[in-house]
């Protein structure tokens, strides 16, 4: 699972935020100052940096600048109590990828975190002999190209991004159709079965796209 580096010096915020990220299944590292946050970010072992602007020793803008100056493409989500539009511009100019103003609702922050982690996978996604070329929007199964509809592609991409983990019906419905209420509909099951057919996965004993009863689906690694 992805590792999130949380750079926040205010423990009253860092602790509950770290717990919330952990509840989402991320591994969380917390750093309370800019210099150690930068060191950890540059170590290459994290997938995302949630960066508070008002850090001691080097503030968030400076951390973002030095990170980019060092050639790192690590996704950076900036957190700040300054939430004017101009602060957004300043933050993006410093190298942040996205920006959340304090105070924020957890759901909003977690959605941004997910989006940034998704965007990170700009290379290919692959698992169990199935490969997606994101740049060209093409899919390959055991080296042979397969043709997918847009919905099938989006669904397969979501499953591959979380290969090895369960994708709930709600997540799939929300992500692919933008409507969590689709979770209970037959449409989702139909798309899953079409995907299985195109991937040559037997419906009764699937090896790749497995149904997790009562929860959702999992794409095997």
């Amino acid at each position: 699972m992805a590792t999130v580096l949380l750079a926040e010096d205010d423990t009253a915020i860092a602790q509950p935020l770290a717990r919330a990220l952990e509840r989402e299944g991320y591994e969380v590292l917390v750093r309370a100052d800019g210099v150690s946050a930068l060191q950890t970010a540059l170590s290459g072992s994290v997938d995302l940096l949630v960066l508070d602007l008002g850090l001691p020793r080097a503030d968030g803008l400076e951390v973002a600048r030095r990170l980019r100056a060092a050639g790192s493409a690590l996704p950076v989500l900036m957190l700040t109590a300054r939430r004017d539009e101009v602060d957004f511009v300043v933050g993006l100019d410093a190298g942040a990828d996205d920006y959340v103003g304090k105070p924020f609702r957890l759901a909003e922050l977690l959605a941004r975190v997910r989006a940034l982690l998704r965007r990170r996978y700009t290379a290919d996604l692959s698992a169990s002999g199935v490969r997606l070329e994101l740049a060209s929007h093409r899919a390959f199964c055991d080296g042979t190209e397969i043709h997918l509809t847009n919905k099938e592609y989006a669904l397969l991409r979501l499953l591959l991004e979380h290969a090895g983990d369960v994708v709930t019906r709600q997540e799939a419905a929300d992500h692919v159709w933008g409507d969590p209420d689709m979770a209970g509909s037959k449409t989702l099951d139909m798309h899953i079965s079409w995907l299985r057919r195109k991937l040559g996965d037997p419906a009764q004993a699937p090896r790749r796209l497995v149904t997790v009863r009562g929860v959702g689906f999992r794409f095997e690694r």
């Binding site: 919330a20 109590a81 924020f104």
Partner: protein, 331 residues
């Protein structure tokens, strides 16, 4: 004022010349023989007119010498009123005038300090309130996420209250900001930057350095780049940045403007080694840079820019690149 000096001088000179001329004319009428009388009259009147003209010329020069520094002090006072908070350091060698100039300078410094303190206070209040509200709302979200339905409803209701409080804080800060920016007008960025050249060319020539200024809209082909700001604030802030680059930097100093969405970004960079690491978090702190009586310092410069809803940031430490962000007016 100049006109009044001239009017009084004219009155006094006419009186003096009249007092001398009338008896002379009367004497000429009585003692000079008729054939020479006309010549004598002409001579006396000629000398009188000459004296008046000469007196007025001297008076005009004196008036100019007295009035010019006064006009300069008046211009400085008007600039101060317009939000240009840099002390000029101008002195005239006239005791009373210098007293006024000193008073203006110290008023400028005090006003700058007030703006800085107000900005600091607003920033602190905003930061503290938002941080505490964030901590509070996250605890409440935790309660909502981890508890049964009844408690969840209560936690959600408390979260709504937090949202309302955030809204109130935003509105109050917005109000304060709008009041601070009441002198802001629409500015042509290229014009503002061109004006800098006049102010700084001498200093650059003396130090053998070069000042390069680039802005879109400087020639007629491009649309002008327009910002909303207080002219004095922009001039002061950029002045501080240029002076910094001249004093602490090296090589060519480049001032460039660009549009960035709804904002105008003006950058000041030089070719020196940049800001040393330990100083980076401190450059905008009071008393760390500038503010030594000749300029207003980066702390006040930042406050002035923020008073116009802009930002002043160090964009790069090595080389040193400072950026002023201002609200843009799209054409």
């Amino acid at each position: 004022m100049r006109r009044r000096i001239l009017a009084w001088t004219l009155a006094v000179v006419l009186l003096a010349v009249g007092v001398l001329t009338v008896p002379l004319l009367m004497a000429a009428g009585r003692y000079v023989d008729p054939p020479d009388r006309l010549g004598a009259f002409a001579l006396v009147i000629g000398v009188a007119v000459g004296a008046v003209v000469a007196a007025m010329a001297v008076a005009a020069r004196a008036a100019r010498r007295i009035v010019a520094p006064l006009a300069q002090v008046a211009t400085d006072a008007a600039r101060l009123a317009g939000g240009d908070l840099g002390p000029t350091g101008r002195r005239y060698g006239e005791e009373e005038l210098d007293e006024v100039a000193r008073a203006l300078d110290s008023a400028a410094v005090r006003l700058g300090e007030l703006v800085r303190r107000e900005r600091q206070l607003a920033a602190d209040v905003s930061h503290q309130l938002r941080s505490r509200l964030t901590a509070l709302s996250m605890r409440l979200e935790e309660v909502a996420a981890l508890s049964d339905d009844e408690l969840k409803v209560e936690a959600e209701a408390a979260l709504d209250q937090v949202d309302r409080m955030v809204h109130i804080v935003d509105e109050l800060l917005d109000q304060a900001r709008t009041e601070r920016a009441h002198n802001a007008v629409e500015l042509d960025v290229a014009e503002q930057l061109a004006a800098l050249r006049a102010d700084w060319d001498d200093a650059f020539r003396v130090s053998g350095r070069e000042l390069r200024i680039t802005a879109p809209g400087a020639d007629a082909h491009e649309p002008a780049l327009r910002a909303r700001a207080t002219p004095g604030h922009v001039a002061q802030a950029l002045g501080v940045l240029i002076e910094n680059a001249l004093q602490h930097g090296a090589g060519v100093v480049t001032v460039s403007a660009r549009a960035h969405g709804e904002h105008v970004v003006v950058e000041v960079r030089d070719e020196g080694v940049g800001v040393p690491d330990p100083l980076v978090p401190l450059v905008f702190d009071r008393g760390v840079s500038g503010g030594d009586g000749t300029g207003i310092g980066l702390a006040v410069a930042r406050a002035l820019v923020e008073a116009d809803s802009g930002r002043l940031e160090l964009r790069s430490a090595r080389p040193a690149v400072f950026a002023v962000y201002l609200p843009r007016i799209s054409s």
